[in-house]
């Protein structure tokens, strides 16, 4: 487990050909004066890895560099040892599901899958297209134009297009956007089974629970930097170890503060401008402790509000460590 942009992080086993399937060495990407990705290094092998970070963290930039659609400003991006930039031959081994929803609206799902299979120059494009559509559960609606598809169906037809050649490396940018819970579960099972078959799957998400359910390993990106990487449970523990901050409004904030400060799970209290701010070690424990303390002291609670539960604040905490 690594934290705060340690270089040379390695996740997963070696790919079948030896060496990592995906390898980034000291990769940066900037747009003018704006640094989107800053000195990121890691190596990935088979398995499901989640690329986690708040919106604007640099996830899509990283995925696009891995997919050969963006040139790294500095550093090296390789898939199976080959640089991805300006090498169309890598797409025999790579599948990409872009975040943008746009798919040729005038084609049917079948025509789109077949188009992708033919461009992959597969020996049996029709068979491959049929299998891919079956896999994403779109066979029933394959002859409808994509323009008439729901958001979830469009997402799945994009995944079918990326799977059509059964790539060894699959890159997915926010793949669960627009899917209903049943489709989401189905897609998670599919990705897990692909990983079990020895494929390297990297998907981005800004939803912690999504990553928690699917990925064994995670890469946490924050403000363009690799904030943490490795086993998800380890990172999750770090996230829960951090103090949680709450604001409390009660009938007697001063007395409540004095009662709370003696409790070992409370790190600190601050009373100012009529607002009581409490820092506690555990979220759930504090929300159970507070009503008990208030009741014992005869204090009425009006409001309890966690102030820093956003993913951004969690990532900021990881980066500071």
């Amino acid at each position: 487990m690594t934290v705060a942009a340690e270089t040379g992080t390695r996740i997963g086993a070696e790919a079948p050909g030896g060496g990592p399937a995906i390898e980034l060495s000291d990769v940066s990407r900037w747009y003018g004066n704006v640094v989107a990705v800053n000195e990121v290094s890691f190596a990935l092998g088979p398995g499901v890895t989640g690329l986690l970070g708040p919106n604007g963290a640099g996830k899509s930039t990283l995925l696009h560099m891995m997919a050969g659609l963006l040139r790294p400003s500095h550093g090296d991006v390789r898939i199976h040892g080959r640089p991805t930039w300006r090498d169309p031959a890598i797409y025999r081994e790579v599948g990409l599901v872009p975040e943008r929803e746009t798919v040729h609206p005038y084609l049917t799902g079948w025509q789109f899958a077949l188009f992708n299979a033919r461009l992959q120059q597969l020996p049996d494009p029709a068979g491959a297209a049929a299998r891919a559509l079956q896999t994403v559960d779109l066979a029933d609606v394959q002859h409808r134009q994509i323009g008439t598809y729901s958001k979830g169906m469009r997402q799945r037809v994009k995944i079918a297009a990326a799977l059509v050649h059964e790539p060894d490396v699959l890159l997915l940018d926010e793949p669960f956007n627009g899917m209903d819970p049943r489709q989401r579960l189905h897609m998670m099972e599919l990705l897990r089974s692909m990983a079990a078959a020895g494929r390297t799957i990297l998907f981005s998400s800004h939803i912690l629970e999504e990553v928690e359910r699917l990925a064994d390993n995670v890469l946490v990106v924050y403000a363009g930097r690799l904030a943490a990487s490795g086993d998800f449970r380890e990172i999750r523990r770090l996230m829960t170890d951090r103090p949680h901050t709450f604001t409390v409004h009660s009938s007697d904030d001063r007395q409540l503060a004095s009662r709370l400060v003696g409790n070992p799970s409370v790190f600190g209290v601050e009373l100012g401008d009529g607002i009581l701010t409490v820092r506690a070690s555990e979220f759930a424990a504090f929300t159970m402790l507070l009503p008990r303390v208030a009741r014992d002291a005869g204090i009425t609670l009006f409001e309890l509000r966690p102030t820093d539960e956003s993913l951004e604040s969690v990532f900021a905490y990881l980066v500071r460590r």
Binding site: R71, P88, L107
Partner: protein
Amino acid sequence: MNWTIIGVTLRGALGRRRTLLVALLAVVPVVIAGIIRVGGTTTSGTTLTAGLLDGLLVTTVLPLVALVFGTGVLGAELDDGTAVYLLVKPIERWRIVVSKATVAAGITMALVFPATLLAGLVVGAGRGGESIAVAFAIAVLPGSILYAVGFVALSVVTSRALIAGLLYVFIWEGLLAGLFAGTALLSVRQYVLSLARWLAGGDGRAITSSVEVQTAVVLAVIVLVVSVAIAIRRLASWEVRTVE
């Protein structure tokens, strides 16, 4: 060339509403020719045919049709993101450019050639304008290729290809090429006029062109090769616009 790309591009290009509007644009000169014919005129057949085909077809319809399809077949897909599905395939970039340019040039030729021939014959048949009509119809074929390929290249270079193309057609070719002799050397319109003048033989005197036919052919080949090379080179290093 790649037939899968050609097939899907053709389907996308022909399925759009703008295709119908552009097809109507190609019909306009024929309608105008019919009105002129019915209305009657004292102008000679060769002069009238050359004037109509130069002023309307070569100056306006041909570049506009090529602009719509040239910028639409690849540039529009790069803008809306659908080109990504094409670019993440193990296909050499030159095949993509050539396939897309073939569709743009093919549709332009399919619309402009019959419109030119028909408009020319409606206004000039039986009045000595037949050879002018045929010469123009043949000359717009390489003209369609040149414009279409040039606009395909422009659409890979800039996301504002439509505006840049309009500026080229109406400012560079329409205004500057008439004022300064040097600018005519980089004018597809002048190449078309020059070829039509040469193809029409003796009747070609009715067609005004600023470039000799030999020069026009050499420059046209250079423009074509350079356009294709630019398009391939820019597409090979095209970068997706990341939404972060």
